[in-house]
Symmetry: C2
Subunit: 231 residues, 2 copies
């Protein structure tokens, strides 16, 4: 059978598209708050900071939800993207490592706002255990596996020092977690089937520094670049 109907959603949405869906969702929520009922790909793309053709191609992976000559229904598109991202259910998240960063995350309102619920705060330091943060009590990380199982935690945020991250990672995976958001500056080793995403401030700054250096070096090609290239 050679016939090959390129059915949307037949299997997978490109990673690049998935990474942009939250952006579209945010832009759509902004429009919805201002009472906008429909939006064209051009306008939505502008709000999300992407090319309109890319936006349309991205949305076409979810299905054909637009109306030609009109645009997209804001509310309907919000629902479809939310459903696709799995935000119509709520996800229990545990934060391991309640130091500077862990506290900031626990207090972060935007966390809860869209489908994510902080179901546990865990730390290894007895001095921190028992602290009340954002309505939760910090528990000892000895009970990590129990917390994960009992509260149905499916996403774990690692905000421990780098030295503890792999160990915490191994434990939560053993407890059945397959989605990890890592703030520690280490490359986590995980088995197939486990997703790790990392947020790394240090890397971002270094990338900025790279470009900044090129700017201040006096234009596109500085003298040093030519050194040794003669002959």
């Amino acid at each position: 059978m050679i016939r090959r109907i390129p059915q949307a959603r037949e299997r997978g949405i490109p990673d690049a598209t998935v990474a942009r869906l939250p952006l579209y969702l945010r832009a759509l929520n902004g429009l919805a708050e201002r009472g906008t009922a429909t939006v064209s790909s051009e306008d939505l793309a502008l709000a999300a900071g992407v090319n309109s053709a890319k936006l349309r191609k991205d949305l076409s992976h979810l299905g054909s939800y637009g109306t030609r000559g009109v645009g997209y229904d804001v509310q309907y598109l919000i629902y479809q993207i939310s459903r696709e991202l799995g935000l119509t259910q709520d996800w229990a998240v545990a934060i391991v490592g309640v130091g500077n960063l862990g506290r900031a995350l626990a207090n972060y309102g935007g966390f809860v706002s869209r489908g994510f619920r902080v179901a546990g705060l865990l730390d290894a330091d007895p001095a921190v255990v028992g602290d009340h943060i954002a309505g939760l009590t910090v528990e000892h990380s000895d009970g990590l596996e129990a917390v994960i199982r009992k509260r149905g935690v499916s996403i774990v945020v690692i905000a421990t020092p780098a030295t503890a991250a792999q160990q915490v990672c191994d434990r939560v995976i053993a407890a059945g977690v397959t989605s990890i958001l890592n703030f520690a500056p280490v490359v986590l080793t995980v088995p197939d089937g486990v997703d790790v995403r990392k947020v790394d401030l240090s890397i971002e700054l270094q990338i900025l520094a790279f470009h900044e250096q090129r700017k201040v070096s006096g234009g596109p090609m500085m003298a040093e670049d030519w050194a040794g290239e003669a002959g």
Copy 2:
């Protein structure tokens, strides 16, 4: 003259490569701490979590710093990558918005550790101004431009609420800053020549949720995926 020697560093290093250099640098520092003198692309790639061919091609963009049959000299490669990233000089960074997140960032040791120095903490809230954090005093954001100019700030971290981010962004750009790290969940609009990188927790969680949803839906290929493909 048709001869075209593909000299490394002739013009630009691919973005994808630049984004990985900090990863290599981190892995190399780990090796250096353990006293390793030389490392093969295979081993370094393993430590950095990438394919070894990719590592070699990345490094080849900087120059030909390896020795065939031996590998790369760890210290020398650290120096070369550092220099390429602009980490041999130190960068003055200002943090605007000293709330939960801004405080965590200010207290973050890994900031200073590699070429970045927090040169200013600024906030609009009089209740926060005057606080002492990590050896610095929080200043009022009215003086943003003055701080940037007087202390040679070239990278600004925005950790204000989303509503204030664009305004802060406009001001720091007007003050001459061309590198911004944005933590606020908004798409910043900037003129050409300004680099913005964003760190967005919410997006990362949503991407994790997407994949997690697919997993729990019943394995690698769920029934719904096959609907309509028969025949």
